[in-house]
Amino acid sequence: MSGWQRFWDSDVAWSWRHSPVAVLATIVLVVLVVGSFGASVIAPHNPFDLATLNLLDALKPPVWEPDGDPTYFLGTDSQGRDLLSAIMYGMQVSLMIGLASVFLSVFLGVALGLLAGYLGGRTDAYIMRVADVQLSFPAILIALLIDGVARAVVPNDLHEVIAFPVLVFAISLAGWPQYARTVRGSTMVEKNREYVQAARVIGISSPVIMFRHVLPNVLGPVLVLATVHLATAIITEATLSFLGVGVPPTSPSLGTLIRIGNDFLFSGEWWITIFPGMALVLLVLSVNLLGDWMRDALNPRLN
């Protein structure tokens, strides 16, 4: 009876195996994740270790160009930092913030959705009203506002310390309503099902009922939402960093790298901004492809 077993349906695994796009996207994603989280081990250089930087190697183009240098595969920036390594570390930051934001959003949204759906009445009305209003404001505006306020309220020396939590909080705050909506809908449907009422009669407590029965039914749609949301979160963080209000410069994300590189666009050193850009697109694209596949695979109607 528990929905957990139903979730691990072999149809999903079959569908993945037979979709070349999904398999490719997963492989690319795995490579990117391993490359970024293993950056400290795998990266050819350490762009943060000032001692290893050589200003003479600054602004070198990628290896296939006439001035290229094989030690710096994708070229260097104005400080002599290896672009490939910077990208790997940068992607680590981008991924971490993206994942953290999504987790927090899912947690918040699912919890609030369960509450709203199960308790109904005024709790439901309040939560949903807030969700509705928030949904009509674009994520980036909310994130900018929170970030700006935090920046103003917190004294300068603490800025770096709180930058990450604030960023994660800001992005996740913009995302919870969509989960809450979905979960609330499913909860309300399940709440009235007979087996829930039967369980109550037997004396099983409400949280247990919700967890065992409502949650598995909701997992599919939430997973699809989360994957798409991950892509959005990564883009939002990149945008904020590009605008200069995201991660601090000491731990640059892909967005920061793009911003730094933007200054060199007109002087012809295009690689400093383009390669981080391509890395970002690759990451987001594979996440989106996976999300698209998942949406089709988990859609009960198409079966």
């Binding site: 009509s136 793009i258 383009i274 694209l285 989106n288």
Partner: protein, 328 residues
């Protein structure tokens, strides 16, 4: 029908009040209100006098009331960074943002909707799937990156289009328009395309998925069973039913364009409100931030209202539902 409008208006006012409250709290608790109002270099006497004058020693509710009164007249004080009146600064930059957003919205709709219909009706076609793949890439490209790429290709490499500013503008009263000059248009193209791309792909995918849903309905099946031509079924029935929900969602999305303009204006140094807002956030210029927030909220609320009204006009179920009872 009236009840509906009144209800929506009350809701709208409620939202504006909440936003106003947030803006008010920004003024009060983030930074020092007095220096916000008058700048940093004032004497103690001036401070005391102003505190009395502004009523800062009065209860918060009264202050909030004053704030609302001022805000509804567009008075948000003086910018910390520029020293000018916030309202003047915003008004000066409003046309730039609105023209950019409007153009981007038009592009997104004029290209997005037909493409969405096309991909829904030709599920197996090669070109349809190509468009779909392109739309997926479009969703994966952040707006600022699109801007950078366009600049790289069209400004740096090809040198065809400018990448900076708005070009020559013509003043009509307090409005400044770039639509009337060739230079204005040249400057508008790249930013408008950049801003529209994300929305375009969203519209495309939305129209496609809605239309596919509609094509599965019983009334479409029945229309086919009655022998109606393909064109009538697809465009007379399916399209009309698709556009009704699409309209609502699109309306809301278009509000997002104005917000996304922040990024585009930054990349292209377009002198609009978004650029102003970013500079304000970086500098912690509270009055500008608060004013922008309220203005954006107002625009959103108005757009929502218009969309709701449109929905009302288009869907007969909403119109007649409150009036006549179902016949027997």
């Amino acid at each position: 029908m009236f009840a509906f409008i009144i209800r929506r208006l009350i809701q709208a006012t409620g939202v504006m009040l909440v936003v106003g409250l947030i803006a008010f709290m920004l003024f009060q608790y983030v930074g020092d209100p007095v220096s916000i109002m008058l700048g940093q270099d004032i004497t103690d006497e001036d401070r005391i006098r102003l505190t009395n004058q502004l009523g800062l020693d009065q209860p918060a509710v009264v202050q909030f009331y004053h704030f609302l009164v001022n805000a509804s007249q567009g008075d948000f004080g003086i910018s910390l960074r520029q020293g000018q009146k916030v309202s003047t600064m915003l008004l000066e930059r409003l046309p730039a943002t609105l023209e950019l957003s409007f153009t981007a919205a038009v592009i997104a709709l004029v290209i997005g909707i037909p493409l969405g219909v096309f991909t829904a009706l030709n599920r197996k076609g090669f070109s349809a799937n190509f468009v779909l793949a392109f739309s997926l890439v479009g969703v994966s490209l952040p707006t600022f990156l699109i801007g950078i790429l366009l600049i790289l290709v069209f400004s740096v490499q090809l040198g065809w289009l400018p990448s900076y500013g708005r070009g020559d503008v013509v003043r009509l009263g307090w409005w400044s328009t770039g639509f009337l000059t060739a230079s204005g248009w040249k400057h508008l193209i790249l930013p408008a395309i950049t801003l529209s791309l994300f929305q375009l792909t969203l519209v495309l995918r939305l129209v496609r998925s809605e239309m596919l849903e509609v094509l599965r309905t019983d009334y479409i099946k029945f229309a086919r069973a009655r022998g109606l031509t393909r064109r009538v079924v697809h465009f007379g029935h399916a399209l009309k039913n698709t556009l009704v929900p699409v309209m609502t969602i699109t309306g809301l999305q278009l509000g997002g364009i104005i917000a996304f303009a922040i990024v585009t204006e930054t990349v292209f140094q377009w002198p609009g409100m978004g650029l102003l807002f970013i500079q304000a956030v970086q500098f912690v210029d509270i009055p500008v931030m608060a004013a922008y927030l309220c203005l954006i909220a107002l625009i959103f609320v108005v757009i929502n209202l218009i969309v709701d009204l449109l929905y009302f006009l288009v869907d007969p179920r909403l119109r007649a539902g409150i009036g006549k009872a179902g016949g027997h």
